[in-house]
Point group: C2
Chain length 270, copies 2
Amino acid sequence: MSEIITSKENPAVKHAARLLKSAKFRRQEEAFLAEGVRLCRDAAYSGVRILRMFYTEEALERYPKDVELLREKAERAFLLSQQLAGGLSATVTPQGIFCVCAMLDKTDCLDKMDASGQLLGLEDIQDPSNLGTVLRTAEALGIGGVILTRGCCDIYSPKVLRGSMGAVFRLPMALVETMPPAVNALEQKGFVTMAAVPDREAEPITQVLFSSPSIVLVGNEGNGLKPETIRACQRRVTIPMLGRAESLNASVAASLLMWEMMRASGEAAL
Amino acid sequence: MSEIITSKENPAVKHAARLLKSAKFRRQEEAFLAEGVRLCRDAAYSGVRILRMFYTEEALERYPKDVELLREKAERAFLLSQQLAGGLSATVTPQGIFCVCAMLDKTDCLDKMDASGQLLGLEDIQDPSNLGTVLRTAEALGIGGVILTRGCCDIYSPKVLRGSMGAVFRLPMALVETMPPAVNALEQKGFVTMAAVPDREAEPITQVLFSSPSIVLVGNEGNGLKPETIRACQRRVTIPMLGRAESLNASVAASLLMWEMMRASGEAAL
């Protein structure tokens, strides 16, 4: 049973469009918009609460099972025209399936992180494509969880959700105001805390003996980690480089760090 | 001495704007548009022939030395208004410096590749951000050269140039029609040829003993390497994965492969 929407002035459509565009509105509503069959299905299977679901006639024809599943999971479902669907889309060729989802509780959950695992810390990562890629890689490599500062771009932005391939729904994540208190708390729990820095004097990541549990912290694309965050960490590690480029892209650097961490940890069986 | 452009109908501006937007026009003219202080300077220092240079009054004030250098290197220089500069820009906040550059000769130069080095092969990579990131990483990690199929997106597109951080100007690259003949030619030269595949039966990249010279090939984002390219290679290698994600982003996968290749090769001293 779906309600039918014919006007772009419909409050549910306007609400969803605002969730698409404004990080502030997402925070205020504690909700976000997921787009596309795959991402919506990922949300549903990850136990994300689906408040509203929107779909087009065309989507129902192309993806009948997925629309059915999502209609069942959603508290309310709406049928809308292709044209209205365009207004909810961040892509060039919308599939015509959208879900308004309740944000997951990512705050204050350092305690929920795997106490024996390998974690990643991200300080003030600005680019949504970078953040999405890093989260996708973290999941692919089996990272136990990610700690992000509130200075990072919004994990519920369309680009991050899409780039992460749904990892946002599944990865344990904690949002913290600033990094140093989190680093200190993890150290108390027995984590080895490591700051990634572009400094040839730091320990090459290839020579670090990663013991579990540990965390590697990666900083902002332009400025790197804050001095106080570097000071809060027990060790400073770096990616040795051979070529001429000044540095690696932030998502590649984070990926190589995670790779070395997982490669070196006994569980990895790489 | 610069000519002053006041109209957007000026043929030099229209020509540059077409180079920005059309890969076909770039190929036809054998030229491309580089934007921004850093990229234009990289082009100049890399021996790229600068046919025309455009700058704004504001750019001259902010970057006097760079404008001076580029004016000297360029065959013709033009001063233009901020507004006209906006029309040549692929960025939100243009710096007001642009160079029309002659394409480098990247064809038919398998012979120019380091015969004792580690190479990367890219087949039909579609996303310009991925390609730019991969080229940047290749340079940062000291890869000897990159072989690309013509099915890859244009290396002179604004996104690839920017994402590569100028690596396009410096990395030895060869553009080939299809991969199998290039693979065969490299094998003849003594290269070990390896196809990267998402297949748990293939050799884990962490256990490969890379001998120099060698090449790893990476395929299209959606479809991977073509079957005939995989067959042309001597070995099949894969990135072992631990988490739940189906796969890694193409630029991250290529980065991890290059990293392992350089890490394992004796010269690396990682």
